[in-house]
């Protein structure tokens, strides 16, 4: 996107529901898809006198996210009340963190078009999710005259983490990459599945523009509660030229919250400035401070799973992959795991990388599947790679074998056998084809014998074609030379 004399500045906030067994402040189960209002109690329904108690595992999961983002986990944690009225919030405040959050001052590196960008992380804090509002009927089949919404409190009180970046993100594309790669990281930490359809992960974007090279930030607008990478990028793609247009016409940007309409591709104000929230934060008197022991934090650090950045380096060192290939294979845990299984099953590191990034990834994309859930197992792909290496099947025929293995959900050997895709190395069989080809092309034979050695390539091509791509090129080469040099 060309923004002329302007540059966009984007900051993001990401909310992640943690996959703990129970809620942030009570022992109600955290589940998905259950009937409404079966996981509630006096605490998460805000009955008078009920007291919240912090879930230790939620603190651990949050700290793991903070450590993965290179943040400093603060020794002193205070919970605050964020006050506002909404039917999904039974206490009329959300327990959150304010000026003494869990962790601060981190950074996250992410890839955009082969370039490694760095974004500073302002903070990571803990809070609780709101309940789910179900708007009766919707447009279709709406109950006549219904002015109601339904509230399901199963989700209310689910541990929620907010990750806040500094305004370091230079483009809508970078924003999408940042969020996708950050999501991968959180999934790999094993603290949340980050299921987007279930709204386990949502984000807000703050966006402003400024003259190229300027150090000052312009007035920002906010896009709230988005849960699709594509819409987020589209919304930013629409908002940036809108702001530039306003400024170039001599206008000013209002600090406001915008709604993105994917149907029209435009952003419109959600609420005016006059209604801007004043949350009146104050320390939550129902919760005592949380003092986090640095020794405990170091224990977590020592037991963090391998993270994408470290894995990419390991792939370069251990498998001799290029940085670009290691970046593709190493940045997603599922794909990396699959690749390593292929190598562990005996395939060479380089061909295994090419197959995983090439045919296998194309298959996943075409079928809309996650790595590891494709219709070819790592073990079968490894066998196919080995069959190419030992000459049982040619490289070009192997691609067809792969496609048919998916169709038939079959073993490579059986597929080669069934569809007759094996490489022909049998001299007698190939000699016949070679003789035919030589006999059919006297002009080229003349050229070759006249000293134009490169014509051999033409003959190899003809023999390969006649064999359906299955002839062993080395054997063909030898037979041709013998026939032509005779």
């Amino acid at each position: 996107m060309n923004n002329g004399a302007w540059e966009p500045v984007i900051g993001l906030e990401m909310h992640v529901e943690l996959d703990t067994q129970t809620k942030m402040f009570c022992g109600c189960a955290v589940t998905k898809g259950d009937a409404p209002n079966v996981h509630t109690c006096p605490v998460c329904l805000a009955h008078p006198g009920a007291l919240p108690v912090v879930n230790r595992r939620a603190v651990e999961y949050a700290a793991r996210i903070a450590l993965a983002l290179d943040c400093t986990v603060q020794a002193r944690n205070i919970f605050h009340r964020k006050n506002y009225f909404y039917p999904d919030l039974p206490k009329a405040y959300q327990i959150s963190q304010y000026d003494e959050p869990l962790a601060t001052d981190g950074s996250f590196e992410y890839w955009v078009d082969g370039e490694l960008l760095r974004c500073r992380i302002n903070r990571v804090h803990m809070e609780e999710d709101a309940a789910k509002l179900i708007h009766a009927g919707g447009d279709a089949g709406r109950i006549a005259g219904s002015d109601s919404s339904m509230v399901d409190f199963n989700r209310g009180g689910t541990p929620l983490i907010e990750i806040v970046t500094e305004p370091d993100i230079p483009s809508p594309e970078a924003a999408r990459e940042f969020l996708q790669q950050l999501r991968n990281l959180v999934v790999e930490l094993g603290v949340s599945e980050c299921n987007m359809e279930e709204g386990q992960i949502r984000w807000d974007a703050n966006i402003s523009v400024r003259p190229q090279g300027s150090e000052e930030l312009g007035t920002r607008t906010e896009l709230k509660n988005m849960n699709s990478f594509r819409y987020l990028q589209q919304a930013l793609d629409a908002e940036i030229p809108r702001q530039i247009g306003v400024l170039e016409a001599g206008g000013t940007i209002d600090l406001e919250t915008l709604h993105f309409d994917p149907d029209t591709g435009t952003t419109t104000p959600l609420r005016s400035k006059e209604e801007a929230h004043d949350y009146r934060y104050f320390p939550e008197p129902d919760l005592v401070p949380l003092e986090i022991d640095p020794v405990w934090v170091e224990g977590l650090r020592a037991t963090q799973p391998e993270l994408p950045a470290a894995r990419v380096e390991r792939f370069i060192a251990d498998y001799g992959l290029s940085r670009a290939d290691a970046g593709v294979l190493g940045s997603s845990g599922a794909l990396a795991g699959f690749y390593e299984e292929v190598v562990a099953a005996g395939a060479g590191a380089k061909p295994a990388a090419n197959w995983t990034m090439g045919e296998y990834l194309a298959h996943l994309n075409a079928a809309g599947l996650e790595a590891g859930h494709g219709h070819v197992t790592a073990e079968r792909l490894a066998r196919l790679v080995k069959l190419v290496e030992d000459g049982t099947v040619s490289t070009s025929a192997a691609k067809e074998v792969f496609a048919r293995m998916i169709e038939d959900r079959a073993e490579p050997e059986a597929t080669i056998e069934k569809h007759g895709l094996g490489q022909i190395s049998d001299t007698a069989e190939l000699e016949a084809i070679v003789a035919e080809v030589v006999a059919a092309n006297p002009a080229q034979v003349e050229q070759y014998r006249g000293g134009k050695q490169q014509v051999i390539g033409f003959f190899v091509g003809q023999v390969m074609k006649a064999s359906g791509g299955r002839a062993n090129p080395q054997v063909v080469n030898d037979l041709l030379r013998r026939a032509l040099d005779a």
């Binding site: 230790r56 939620a58 006050n83 009766a136 919404s149 339904m150 919760l287």
Partner: protein, 93 residues
């Protein structure tokens, strides 16, 4: 010094409707409370760490272990309106 406008603003945030005589009275009362709190500014408290809680206790946490929830009928019993196994509330904007 707190103004009557401040009082009306806070009342609005708290969704309280207050009459004129109440606004006048509360402006006076809140001013007294704030003046009382301001007394503390007269002390040199630079060396005293901020207090976040009245109890001298930290780290009250629990294990991530499920405990029984309320039966739905029980949870919905105090709701002013119920439908579809949910609390029914006025539709928001």
């Amino acid at each position: 010094m707190i103004s009557e406008d401040d009082v009306r603003y806070v009342a609005k945030l708290a969704r309280l409707r207050i009459e004129q005589d109440e606004a006048t009275r509360m402006t006076g009362e809140l001013a007294k409370i704030l003046a009382h709190i301001d007394k503390m500014s007269e002390l040199d408290l630079a060396a005293v760490p901020p207090t976040a809680h009245v109890l001298d206790v930290v780290n009250v946490t629990r294990e991530d272990k499920e405990r029984p929830s309320l039966p739905r009928e029980e949870a919905l019993r105090n709701a002013p309106a119920v439908s579809d196994e949910c609390f029914r509330v006025p539709r928001m904007g």
